[in-house]
C-alpha cells in the first residue's frame, strides 16, 4: 500500500492556504484586494508572499491600480501544482480509514 501524500508545509497554515486558493483562482490579483480578502495587515501579507515567492509558488510585479502604484500577485504553474497536490493530500487524509484497535 502506498503511503499517503504529505501536505505541503508552506501552504498548510490557514492564511497561506486561503491566499494560495485566491491567487490560483485568478490570473493575477492586486495586493490591496488580496489583503482585504484575507483581512490581514500589509506587513503580514508581505511576509506570506515573501515565503511563497521564495518557494516559487507566487510571483509579484509592480503595476498600477486606480491610478496608484501597487503590486500584482500571480501564481505560476509551480504554485498551482503545489496547491493541487496539497488539496489532494488533504482529501487523501480524510479518506483514510483509521486502523482498527
Amino acid at each position: 500500500m502506498s503511503s499517503p501524500a504529505e501536505p505541503d508545509r508552506l501552504i498548510h497554515p490557514p492564511a497561506r492556504l486561503r491566499l494560495m486558493t485566491i491567487v490560483c483562482s485568478v490570473d493575477e490579483i492586486e495586493f490591496v484586494t488580496l489583503r482585504e480578502r484575507l483581512d490581514v495587515s500589509d506587513s503580514v501579507l508581505s511576509k506570506h508572499l515573501t515565503v511563497l515567492a521564495d518557494a516559487g509558488y507566487v510571483q509579484t510585479r509592480k503595476g498600477s491600480h486606480e491610478g496608484r502604484r501597487t503590486t500584482w500577485v500571480t501564481a505560476p504553474r509551480k504554485g498551482r501544482r503545489a496547491l493541487q497536490r496539497h488539496v489532494a493530500a488533504l482529501r487523501e487524509m480524510i479518506a483514510l480509514v483509521p486502523d482498527e484497535v
Binding site: 492556504l17 483562482s25 491600480h65 486606480e66 488533504l90 482529501r91 483509521p98
Partner: protein, 155 residues
Amino acid sequence: MESNEQVEAREALEAVALERAETGRRYVVPSGYDEWLGLAVALLVFGIALSNTVDGWRGTLAIVGGALVAAAIMGAQVARFKRLNGMWVSGLIAGKTRAVTAVAFLAEAVGIVAAVVAARADLLWLALAISLATGVVFAWVSRAWSRRYVAELGA
C-alpha cells in the same frame, strides 16, 4: 471517529471551498464588457477580410488598423475589469472554462476564413455581415465563459 489531523484537513478543505466561492461571488463583469469585446473581434475580422481586397499600403493599413483598434478596445476593457475587480482572469486560466475559450477561438477562426472568402469574392457586405456575426458569437461566448467560471468556483 476522525483523528485531529483529519478534522484539520476537513476544515482546510472547507476553507478552500469557501474561498473559491467567495471569489465567484465577487466576480463582476463591467457593463457592456462582452459587447465591447465582440465589437473588437468584429473589427479585427473585418480588417483582415478587407486587407484581402486591396493591394499595397491600403491592405496593410486595413489589417494593422483593425488590429490596433481591436487591441485598444480590448485593452480598455481589461483595464475596466481590473479596476472593478482588483484582479484579472483571462480565458486561458486552467479549468473547465478552457472548453469555452476553445469555442471562442474556433468561432473567430471560422469567422476570419469565411469573411476572407467573402471579401475575395467581392462580397464586402457579406464579409461585413460575417464579421459582425463573429463578434456577436464572441460576445455570447464571453458571457457564457463568465457564467461557467463562476459556477466552477462554486462547485
